[in-house]
C-alpha cells in the first residue's frame, strides 16, 4: 500500500524528496505532507463539545464552517496540555471532509528524502501502529509520518479504538 502511495507522489515530484510540515506533541516530532494541509491556523482557543468522543478537542470556526478538531494528544493517550495548542486544517483527498488537528506546536517545513522513511517497528502498540505511517530518520532524531486520511474524525469514530478516554485522560 505504501508503495502505491509513493508512486502517486513521484508523479508530482520528480526526485524522491518530499516536504513535510513538522509538528510536536510532547517531545515527539511528527510530520504531515504539506500538500494535505490547507492552512495552519496557529494557536486557537477551542470551544469544547460536551459528551463528544475523547479524541475530539472541540470545534473551531473556519471560513464559514465549523470544524471538528481532533486532539492529537488524546489520540496518543497523553493528558491534556494546559496551554492552547496550534490548529492545522486538513482535508481528505476528495475535499469532502475538512477537519482540524490540534497539536502542541507547529515547527516548519522540512524536505526529506523518501529513502529515509522506515516502516513502523513491529513492537508498536496497536493504536500507534494504526496512526503512524513509518518514521523518517532525521539527523536530530526520528520524525513520525502521519496520514491525514486516518486522522479524519469519522474514520476515528469508525475504528472505535479512540472512543473511550485515552489513558491518563480524564474526559
Amino acid at each position: 500500500m505504501k508503495i502505491v502511495g509513493q508512486d502517486a507522489q513521484q508523479i508530482h515530484e520528480e526526485d524522491d524528496s518530499i516536504s513535510l510540515c513538522s509538528m510536536f506533541a510532547d517531545d515527539e516530532s511528527f510530520g504531515i505532507d504539506t500538500g494535505k494541509i490547507r492552512e495552519v491556523l496557529g494557536k486557537r482557543d477551542l470551544e469544547r463539545v460536551p459528551m463528544a468522543p475523547a479524541f475530539v478537542a472541540g470545534v473551531v470556526p473556519y471560513r464559514g464552517d465549523v470544524l471538528t478538531t481532533v486532539s492529537f494528544r488524546a489520540l496518543l493517550g497523553l493528558s491534556e496540555s494546559a496551554e492552547a495548542g496550534c490548529v492545522l486544517v486538513l482535508e481528505d483527498s476528495d475535499g469532502e471532509e475538512r477537519f482540524g488537528l490540534l497539536v502542541d506546536t507547529v515547527g516548519g517545513v522540512v524536505t526529506v528524502s523518501r529513502k529515509m522513511l522506515e516502516a513502523n517497528p513491529c513492537t508498536l502498540e496497536a493504536r500507534c501502529k494504526w496512526l503512524f505511517d513509518g518514521a523518517y530518520k532525521m539527523p536530530n532524531g526520528l520524525m513520525v509520518q502521519l496520514d491525514p486520511e486516518k486522522l479524519r474524525p469519522s474514520r476515528l469514530a469508525e475504528t472505535g479504538m479512540f472512543k473511550q478516554g485515552a489513558m491518563g485522560e480524564n474526559a
Binding site: E47, P50, A52, P61, V66
Partner: protein, 725 residues
C-alpha cells in the same frame, strides 16, 4: 453493448442539463394544463395550445441533441395534440389519460437521460405500446366522437389509471431529486447580490486601511452592518420559492388518486405566491403529499355517501398557504367525513396506547392528538378508523424536524383540516445565548417560554425535591428542572448571585433548564456539525457569536429526552387559565360618592371624557350632555355636579369626569353618562355571590377591596354581566 455507458451523472453535459431542466418545466406546465383542461373544457383552445407548445419544444430540441427515442414519442404526442388543436378530437377522459401517460413516458425518458446520460434504447419497445395507444386515440377518438363509451374500454382505463398513478409518483420522486440541486433566481436578485458583495469588499478595504483607532471606524462598522443585513435579506429572498411550485404537483396526483379511490374531488388553491425557503419547501413536500393523499383517500367520502349526507357529490380539497406571526401556515382542508372520535379512541384502546379509563376522560382535542402517536396508525388502522392516519407520526416528525408543528381539526360529517406550520427560514434563527459550565450555548427562541431568575438565597426554598429529582413550583405546577452543566458533564461553576432557569417547551415536553448566566438574545446563523458530533444527539448545530466565539445550539427536544422528560398533555393548564378567566374580570374602579369605591365592568365603559361644567345642560330636572350628536342622560348618584356648581360659583373653571357607558351586548340600549368624582384604577376582580349580608347591593372584590358594582346603568345590567361572567 459496448457503447452503453455506465450510469454517471458527470456524463451529462451542460446543454443536456439545460434541456432537461427546461423540459421538466414544460412538462410541469403541461401537467397543470391537462388537469385544467379536464376541469374546464371550454378553455380548450388556449390550454391545448400551451400543451402543444411544450411537447413541440421537446421534440424540436431532442432532434439536434440526438435523443431519437424521446423525439419519436414526442412526435406521436404532438400529432395527437395537433388533431386536438384543430378541433378534430373532443376532450374525453381517455384522451386526457392518454396524454398523461405520454407525459409520464416523456418524463421517464428525461429522468433516464439525467441519470445515465443516454435514453436507453434497449427499453424502446415500451414506447411502442404508448405510441400505438396515442395513434389509436387519434383516429379512434375521431371516429368515436358520437359513440357511447364502451364498457371494456372503461375497465381497461381503470387498470391503466392505477398504473399511471404508480408511475406518476415514481416520476415525481425523480423530479424531486433533480429539483433539489437547482434553483431559478431572478437575474435582478442576483445583480443586487453582486452589488452588495461589491459593497462588502469596499467596506472591508476601508476598514483594513483605516484601522480600529480611526475616527470613522464606528461609521464603517455601521455600514458593514447594513450591507450585511441587506445581503442576508437578498440571499434569503433568492432562496424563497413560492409555495405554488409545490402545489403544482397536486392537481394531477389528486386526479389520479380520485380515480383509483372512485371519488370526485375538486382541488382549490389559495396563497400560492406565499414564499418559503427552498430547503423548507423540500422538507414539507412529503408530509404535504401525505396529507393530500390521506384527504382524498380517507377524508372525502364516496360520491353516493356524500349525496346521502346532503353534500354535493364532488368533494372539495382546499390547499391554503399564508403567513402568520413569522411562520408560514399550510392548510389542507377537506369537506369529507371527518374523524370519528369514538373510533379513534376505540382503536387507541385496542392498541394499548391508552387505557379505557384514560380514553373516557379525554377531550376531543386530546383524542385527535392520538392520531399522531407512533403505533397508532398502521395502514389497517387507518382504513377502518375512517380518518386519516397512515404515518401521521411521520408527518409530524418531518415537520417538527424543521422546527414546525402540525395541528389537526376535525368535525364529523363536516371535514378535516390539517395545518402545517413551518418557520420562514432555517438558516437564521433567533436564539438566546446562555452560559453554563463556562461554555456558551444557544437556545432557539421558538422553544423558549419564559425565564426565571433564582437568587442563591432563595434557591434552597424554591427548588423542591420529589425523590431525587428536583422540581420548581411555577404558578402552582411542578416543573422538572434540568441542570445543563450536570447533564453535559461540565464543571459546575458556583455563582454567588444565583442562576437562571429557562422554561422550555418542545414536542410537548416542558421543563426548566438551569443555566449559570444569560447573554444577549442574538440572531444566529446555524452551521452544521460534522457527523461525529451530530451523533452525540444533543446539538443541532453550532454558531459563531458576535464576539467571534463558537456556541453550540442545543436541541431542546433531544435534551428533554436525554434527561428523561416525558411529553405532558397541556390542556389541564389551559383549562385552569380559562377557569380563572371565568370568575375574574376587569373592572373600572372609580369614586362617585365620597370615599366609596364603585366599579363598572370595563366592557361597558366606552370612553372617559372630561366635560366642562358649562356644557352640561338641564331639562326637566335631569342633567343632559350633548355628546357626538347624541343626547346622553347623566347619572349623578354622588351629587358631584352640585359640588362642582358650588366650586364654579367661587370662580373656578371646573370640568366633570364623565364615563360614557353603553352596553354593546344589548342592542338598542341607549348610552348614558356617569358623572364620577375621579377614576381610580382598572383592575381584575371577582363578583361576590349575592346573599343577605350585602343586601341587594352587588359587591365585588377588586384588588381585595370591597367595591360596589354600579347599578342602574340598565335595569338588568348587573344581571347580564353576571351571566356573561
Amino acid at each position: 453493448m459496448i457503447w452503453v455507458r455506465r450510469p454517471d451523472k458527470r456524463d451529462v453535459d451542460d446543454l443536456t442539463k439545460e434541456f432537461i431542466a427546461e423540459s421538466q418545466e414544460g412538462l410541469d406546465r403541461m401537467e397543470r394544463c391537462l388537469t385544467e383542461l379536464e376541469a374546464r373544457p371550454e378553455d380548450c383552445e388556449q390550454l391545448v395550445g400551451e400543451i402543444f407548445r411544450s411537447v413541440h419544444t421537446i421534440k424540436g430540441t431532442t432532434g439536434f441533441l440526438g435523443f431519437s427515442r424521446l423525439e419519436k414519442l414526442a412526435h406521436a404526442g404532438e400529432h395527437l395534440l395537433g388533431s386536438l388543436r384543430e378541433g378534430r378530437l373532443a376532450v374525453t377522459e381517455e384522451l386526457i389519460s392518454g396524454l398523461l401517460r405520454l407525459l409520464d413516458g416523456l418524463r421517464a425518458i428525461l429522468t433516464l437521460i439525467e441519470e445515465t446520460g443516454g435514453e436507453g434504447t434497449r427499453a424502446s419497445d415500451e414506447d411502442g405500446a404508448l405510441i400505438a395507444e396515442l395513434a389509436a386515440l387519434n383516429c379512434e377518438a375521431a371516429a368515436a366522437l358520437d359513440h357511447e363509451k364502451a364498457a371494456p374500454v372503461v375497465m381497461m382505463k381503470a387498470a391503466g389509471e392505477v398504473e399511471a398513478a404508480a408511475q406518476s409518483t415514481a416520476a415525481q420522486v425523480h423530479a424531486a431529486a433533480s429539483n433539489d440541486k437547482t434553483l431559478r433566481i431572478d437575474v435582478d436578485v442576483l445583480n443586487r447580490m453582486m452589488n452588495l458583495v461589491g459593497e462588502l469588499v469596499l467596506t472591508r478595504n476601508q476598514m483594513l486601511q483605516s484601522g480600529v483607532e480611526a475616527t470613522n471606524f464606528p461609521e464603517l462598522a455601521r455600514r458593514l452592518d447594513s450591507v450585511t443585513a441587506d445581503l442576508r435579506e437578498t440571499v434569503m429572498q433568492a432562496r424563497m420559492q413560492p409555495v405554488g411550485n409545490l402545489f403544482g404537483k397536486f392537481p394531477r396526483m389528486v386526479r389520479d388518486l380520485a380515480r383509483t379511490c372512485k371519488r370526485e374531488v375538486r382541488i382549490e388553491f389559495s396563497g400560492q405566491e406565499t414564499g418559503l425557503d427552498k430547503s423548507l419547501l423540500e422538507a414539507i413536500k412529503d408530509p404535504l403529499t401525505h396529507a393530500v393523499r390521506n384527504a382524498v383517500d380517507h377524508g372525502i367520502e364516496a360520491p353516493a355517501d356524500r349525496v346521502l349526507g346532503g353534500k354535493p357529490a364532488e368533494g372539495c380539497l382546499r390547499l391554503k398557504a399564508f403567513h402568520q406571526s413569522g411562520s408560514v401556515v399550510i392548510e389542507v382542508a377537506d369537506d369529507g367525513g371527518g374523524i370519528a372520535i369514538e373510533r379513534v379512541l376505540a382503536k387507541a384502546v385496542e392498541r394499548g396506547l391508552v387505557t379505557p379509563e384514560q380514553a373516557a376522560e379525554m377531550t376531543e382535542r386530546e383524542a385527535l392528538q392520538l392520531i399522531f402517536l407512533p403505533g397508532f396508525s398502521t395502514a389497517s388502522a387507518v382504513t377502518t378508523v375512517s380518518g386519516r392516519g397512515v404515518g401521521m407520526d411521520v408527518v409530524r416528525a418531518n415537520v417538527e424536524k424543521v422546527g414546525g408543528s402540525v395541528e389537526l381539526e376535525s368535525k364529523v360529517g363536516v371535514g378535516t383540516t390539517l395545518r402545517l406550520r413551518v418557520p420562514l427560514t432555517l438558516a437564521i434563527v433567533p436564539a438566546l445565548v446562555v452560559r453554563s459550565g463556562g461554555q456558551s450555548f444557544a437556545l432557539p427562541q421558538t422553544t423558549l417560554v419564559e425565564l426565571v431568575y433564582i437568587p442563591t438565597r432563595d434557591a434552597a426554598q424554591v427548588v423542591e425535591k420529589v425523590g431525587a429529582s428536583e422540581v420548581y413550583r411555577l404558578r402552582e405546577r411542578l416543573l422538572p428542572m434540568i441542570w445543563l452543566d450536570r447533564l453535559l458533564g461540565l464543571k459546575s461553576a458556583t455563582d454567588e448571585h444565583g442562576f437562571y432557569m429557562a422554561v422550555l417547551e418542545a414536542e410537548g415536553c416542558k421543563y426548566g433548564l438551569v443555566v449559570d448566566d444569560l447573554l444577549a438574545p442574538e440572531e444566529i446563523v446555524v452551521k452544521p456539525l460534522s457527523a461525529v458530533l451530530r451523533e452525540i444527539g444533543l446539538f443541532s448545530g453550532a454558531t459563531v457569536l458576535g464576539n467571534g466565539t463558537l456556541a453550540l445550539i442545543l436541541d431542546i427536544a433531544a435534551t428533554a429526552a436525554r434527561a428523561g422528560v416525558k411529553p405532558v398533555i397541556e390542556d389541564e393548564e389551559e383549562q385552569a387559565a380559562e377557569a380563572k378567566q371565568k370568575d375574574e374580570r376587569s373592572f373600572l374602579v372609580f369614586e362617585d360618592r365620597a370615599r366609596e369605591r364603585t366599579a363598572l365592568p370595563l366592557g361597558v365603559v366606552e370612553r372617559i371624557e372630561s366635560v366642562p361644567l358649562s356644557q352640561i345642560e338641564y331639562a326637566n330636572g335631569r342633567a343632559l350632555l350633548q355628546y357626538r350628536g347624541e343626547l346622553l342622560q347623566l347619572r349623578d348618584d354622588g351629587r358631584v355636579l352640585d359640588e362642582m356648581d358650588a366650586m364654579q360659583l367661587q370662580g373656578e373653571e371646573v370640568a366633570a369626569t364623565v364615563l360614557i357607558c353603553g352596553d354593546a351586548r344589548v342592542k338598542g340600549s341607549p348610552r348614558m353618562g356617569v358623572v364620577v368624582r375621579r377614576v381610580l384604577d382598572v383592575s381584575e376582580g371577582t363578583m361576590l355571590e349575592k346573599d343577605v349580608a350585602n343586601g341587594d347591593v352587588d359587591l365585588a372584590l377588586v384588588k381585595e377591596k370591597l367595591t360596589t358594582i354600579f347599578r342602574g346603568f340598565c335595569a338588568n345590567g348587573a344581571e347580564s354581566w353576571k351571566e356573561v361572567a
